[in-house]
């Protein structure tokens, strides 16, 4: 499957807190290339058996940020609380989908300028609501707790950049699916599992339970990280188009990180350095059960946690290529 088509299929679907179809889209694609099962916590695992039982895990999360309905108001409006980190400043006039008894389209309210105070303060979630355009029977369709996601289906910007709301971390999922497809007909020294986990945006909870359910020796997580953005110091970001960001971190296993760079020597990649934990699922996977060797590869992304998230297809490909080479290079227990 073309990488662009995979990215569009994955970001054309939603998933937050059990609502949406992205999990099924992933399961369907993955099962074309390997036996695929769903864990009881919603994690999807595809397995490529190798010559040994030494298990290398590649992981990405398929949930996305969004909101939950906290109040149904008069006149077709609802209030929401955030599920995941969201910048309320971007919300006014942003389109959303509410997963009620049916999918309801809506838009975040804004108050016109003449009703605002002189000092230019940013809106926060408590002074915003969602306009559903429904004039009656709202409570029949929408209930407290219903999930809400940004309504920003994928589009191309230029010929290498995709913009969609859920690229964090469907871009990672797409890289995993590309690696799965390309490794599925290869002879592997180790068993490679691909985990698509839920609930990262709620504090890496899906990775905790899914990793527990898999016997594994080693894991490399794939997430998005900050791409170069005006107003952000360059040392905090990777370059868009600069390839996979391979992470150096004291919380990661040095030999795995070295192996990832070794696997990248003919690829365009860039280093990323974090001083402590990485803020991704690998932080919890690495301390699963009796401990797991760990690495992290990221796709540079702009405008994280907004409907304006963008990634470069070439960067997603670079991440996938790092994973493919790493798996092919792997000699079993040799990585210390």
């Amino acid at each position: 499957m073309e990488l662009k088509d995979t990215l569009f299929a994955l970001t054309g679907a939603d998933f937050l807190g059990g609502s949406g179809d992205a999990k099924n889209v992933i399961k369907e694609i993955a099962s074309q290339y390997a036996p695929t099962e769903e864990l009881k916590d919603g994690g999807i695992v595809a397995t490529l058996k190798g010559k040994t039982d030494y298990t290398l895990l590649f992981e990405a999360h398929y949930d996305q940020i969004g909101f939950v309905v906290t109040e149904v108001l008069e006149g077709g409006f609802v209030r929401v609380g955030n599920a995941g980190g969201i910048d309320p400043r971007i919300l006014p006039s942003t389109r959303v989908k509410i997963y009620g008894k049916e999918v309801v389209k809506g838009v975040f309210t804004s108050v016109p300028p003449h009703l605002k105070k002189e000092d230019e303060t940013a809106p926060d979630l408590s002074c915003l609501s969602i306009d559903t355009g429904l004039t009656d029977n709202v409570s029949d369709i929408i209930s407290l707790g219903d999930r809400v996601v940004f309504d920003a289906p994928p589009v191309m910007l230029g010929n290498d950049t995709v913009n969609a709301a859920s690229l964090d971390d469907r871009a990672g999922c797409a890289a995993l699916l590309w690696a799965l497809e390309n490794l599925s007909d290869k002879e592997l020294a180790v068993t490679v599992k691909f985990l698509f986990a839920d609930k990262e945006e709620l504090g890496m909870r899906g990775a905790v339970t899914s990793a527990f359910n898999i016997e594994l020796d080693e894991a490399v997580a794939v997430d998005v990280s900050f791409g170069d953005t005006p107003g952000v110091p360059s040392y905090q970001t990777g370059k868009m188009g600069g390839g996979a960001m391979i992470c150096h971190s004291p919380a990661l296993t040095k030999s795995v990180v070295d192996g990832l760079f070794e696997a990248s020597k003919d690829l365009v990649v860039q280093p990323e350095v974090t001083g402590g934990r990485t803020g991704t699922d690998i932080d919890v996977i690495s301390i699963s059960r009796g401990g797991v060797k760990s690495g992290l590869v990221s796709v540079p992304q702009r405008n994280m946690h907004t409907p304006a998230e963008t990634v470069r297809i070439s960067d997603v490909k670079s991440v996938a290529d790092v994973l493919i080479n790493y798996a092919l290079n792997h000699k079993g227990g040799a990585v210390k």
Partner: protein, 339 residues
């Protein structure tokens, strides 16, 4: 009427770049009126009615919408811009734009993860914003967009609940109403003006008012409705679903009192849902018409729109119907010399 409105809202015509809207309107009204396009690009369409008008009546709607214009492309390929018409910062952040030559981009913002507490409390300044068009550097960006090119919110008309949500309802609803009036039989002669550059300060209307030289003008517009949970009482301005808005005063115009009163009365008598604005705010082409030449009696009939000047204005189809009915009635009564 909704199909026509959808087509018009999905056309791109930033203020000063109304070409695509104008071409579409010209193709729609060809054969239904005596049409000319003036030096600024206003369409002036003289409609022949069954009877000669006792006074000359002009109905005006503007073709332009709020947008942005490229001012600079930096080394990283980021597009710097100015706004054409008033767009608030939150209405820009994270939104998609489409440029004249077809490039699509998103307005960038610093990720919330990297903002400190103080940064999160203020809005970024306009001159710190930029658009990512997916270019890797300046050269690639220049192949996609150029300095001086405009962009508007990506077309996105859709039904939400019982309402409609779209960019450019201000003022493609007015264009829709005037096209419909031109295409059907009229009682009396009247002139429809599809004006340019309203969002830049009523510039098209100024010259159209001069050259059409009417006795009375009716401005057909989209206006701010703030009937959201975050505002209350008079601050809500007007209400989506409560009908056409007839204004008594806004920031551009103190409306002709008799015309206002007659309009309210006629709406009542004819079962047309009609309301007024409870805040003196906003402005429209009436500001140009009512002081043109020696002064022109002017009324504004508006569609209540929530989140006006954003990618996602919300309005009611039934209100649009009431706007249409009230405009038609006012033209007839004015041209017939009854009010």
């Amino acid at each position: 009427m909704m199909q026509l409105l959808e087509k018009l809202c999905n056309l791109c015509g930033a203020a000063g770049r109304e070409d695509k809207v104008r071409d579409f309107i010209l193709s729609e009204i060809e054969g239904y009126a005596d049409i000319k396009v003036d030096n600024l690009g206003n369409i002036i369409a003289d409609k022949k009615g069954k009877k000669r008008a006792k006074i000359k009546v002009v109905a005006d709607a503007h073709m332009d919408e709020v947008g942005i214009i490229v001012t600079h492309i930096d080394e990283g390929g980021f597009v710097k811009f100015a706004t054409c018409g008033g767009i608030e910062i939150p209405a820009l952040l994270g939104k998609r734009f489409v440029f004249e030559k077809g490039a699509v981009g998103v307005v960038c913002s610093k990720p919330t993860h990297l903002c400190d507490a103080a940064e999160k409390k203020v809005l970024p300044k306009l001159d710190s914003l930029c658009i990512d068009v997916g270019a890797k550097d300046k050269k690639e960006a220049e192949e996609m967009v150029c300095v001086g090119e405009t962009a508007v919110f990506v077309p996105n008309f859709e039904k939400i609940g019982n309402l409609i949500c779209a960019k450019a309802l201000d003022d493609r609803v007015g264009c829709t109403v005037l096209i419909k009036l031109l295409k059907e039989e009229a009682e009396y002669d009247f002139t429809a003006v599809f004006s340019v550059q309203e969002e830049l300060g009523l510039r098209g209307a100024k010259v159209a008012a001069f050259s059409t030289n009417p006795d009375a003008a009716i401005i057909v517009e989209g206006t701010t409705a703030a009937d959201v949970p975050e505002s209350s009482g008079a601050n809500r301005v007007c209400h989506v679903g409560d009908g056409a808005v007839l204004s008594f005063m806004d920031r551009s115009t103190m409306y002709d009192k008799k015309l206002y009163d007659d309009g309210r009365r006629l709406a009542d008598q004819n079962g047309i849902k009609c309301q007024t604005k409870s805040v003196v705010a906003g402005g429209n082409n009436a500001g140009a018409y009512h002081i043109a030449r020696g002064g022109i009696r002017t009324a504004a009939v508006s569609l209540p729109c929530r989140y006006i000047h954003s990618s996602s204005s919300v309005a009611s189809p039934s209100d649009a119907e009431n706007v249409y009915r009230l405009v038609k009635l006012l033209i007839e009564k004015l041209a017939g010399g009854e009010i």
